[in-house]
Amino acid sequence: MNNYGDEFDPTPFAKSPRSSVEEAVLAASNYVVPSDDLRPRTLEAAREVEQDRNRLRKFERFMVGFLIVLVLSIPLADRLNTWRDSHQAPTSTEVERMALELSRNSTEGQHWSMYEAYNRIRNAQAARFGHATSSHAD
């Protein structure tokens, strides 16, 4: 170990005690000082960077949450759709389409086809709800 704390020192110069030049350099170490505004400037910059980072983190969390909700809601929506198909009454367009099909396949007029369509729908509903009621009763 030499004077400078080095285990390996190839310079014979460094083995000698501090020269006057080194002493002069050492003495001048505190001659230059940071400006007064550097401290507030640095702390302010750090605060801004941290705020930006926090904002980004919040946005990332929101996006992750949104994705989780989206992923969970797709099968849920699918299930609700299936439930709607089996429990909700048909829309007027669907009834009209059914009536049109019935009138095409038979010699009956449109009014009777509409009546027949409603009749079938009501029978189907009665069968479904009757089945549901009976399964409830079970």
Partner: protein, 183 residues
Amino acid sequence: MSLSDRVRQCALRIAESGGPALSGLYDLTAHRLVRYAVTITRNQHDAEDAVQAALVRVVVNVNLLWRSTHPWPYLLQMVRNESLQILRKKKRWTLSNLSDLLTRRTVDEMAREDTHRAVWLALRQLPVEQSEVVVLKIWEDLTFAQIGEILEVPTATAASRYRYAIDKLSTHLRSESTEVSCE
């Protein structure tokens, strides 16, 4: 407690409490970091920008600092990288005087101000790779091995740069004092 340990403690505090805890690290290191950066950028304004950028980077990624084996040399290396980056962006020019520097003059050091100025001028006349070795060796009291790590050069290179730098400094300072005595 060594400076490295104190820097690690400050880094831990930043990791726990965030940005506001940077003031502790600033108070501990800013003066040393600025004077080191000045020897690289040759301009106090740029040096302060480099120090500010390095300290903000510490807040962003404080784990790198407190997990480092030698936090103080690591911080010096960060400042060096920022200083070199600023130098790369700017057109190269060198000040032949010290007009950009903010200096401190205490009453008992008034008499030595000329010597201090001469030293700083002499340091500015050295190539950057030599002056930074002098600063790290004498002011930061680092070993040549540590200096080599910071500058990414072999230990022997750091040592020889130091030897050349001290030789040049003594020549500069000798000529400076001769000039003063002739006047």
